[in-house]
Symmetry: none
Amino acid sequence: MFMGTSYNSIDEKNRMIVPSKLRAGLGTRCILTKGLDRCLYIYTTDDWEKQMEKIAQLPESDPKVRAFIRHFCANAAECEFDRQGRIIIPQELKAYAGIEKELVTMGAMSKIEVWSRDVWDAPDNDSKMENEDFAKALAEYNF
Amino acid sequence: MFMGTSYNSIDEKNRMIVPSKLRAGLGTRCILTKGLDRCLYIYTTDDWEKQMEKIAQLPESDPKVRAFIRHFCANAAECEFDRQGRIIIPQELKAYAGIEKELVTMGAMSKIEVWSRDVWDAPDNDSKMENEDFAKALAEYNF
DNA sequence: TTATACTACCACTATACACCACTTTTAAAC
DNA sequence: GTTTAAAAGTGGTGTATAGTGGTAGTATAA
């Protein structure tokens, strides 16, 4: 279970540190991919493979399924840590998340989220919930 | 499991690089054929044979099945890598995928897809899923 | 025999990767 | 609170290799 938030940066070689506490839960490698919001997800290889198995069951004759598989795989990168615990962020993913220099890395249950700090702190960032909205949303699910 | 996206080009001799990370999963040769969308598929020789077995189960009495077999098999080419890791794209396949110069190569589970970059980036390319649709699809398939 | 096309091999360049050194932060002991 | 040590994070450098372009050799056809 990943938790906690760290503030770090990415260098000119597109290397980012995975904070050591989070890294401990990942082993020697991890899967980096596009998130649902304007962020990146880091999965354990185990979790990733479970998802792939599920996807492999879907019928390829359906064009939606093909597009889904494409999106899922093409935007994913298997990353290995260097000796300092860094991974390399592919250009495409870096651009998607609007990452330039400063990062926010946070544990989110079974995965890790990576945000551009500017995007995360932006006043119009709907992914960051204020208290009232929070409660309302939870109420809908009888939490 | 093939994943990730690369941007490369084809030269006047119809040679294309298979990106090294993808190539690592292919061995010394591979099967190249027409895909279901306007792209080419690259299979490992093993997976190709599995596909053939699957197709062999389909009822040949159906003309659509026969057309599919033709589409898939008639244009399949067994390709060997040269020392630089390139394969040669037959004219027929090149034309089918609308390939001229720039390519997009992406991993898609058990196969690799090769797209003309122009075709892939075309605004009317509905084989490319947008993020909102992806989120919906995730929900649909219970992820 | 000549010309053309195709294939295999070779050489160069840019990029990516692995390694090393340093700085900063955190934790612990006195 | 201060000092010390260990770990975490950052930056830079050199080497290997991936990717591209080109050349030579072989085969095929005219």
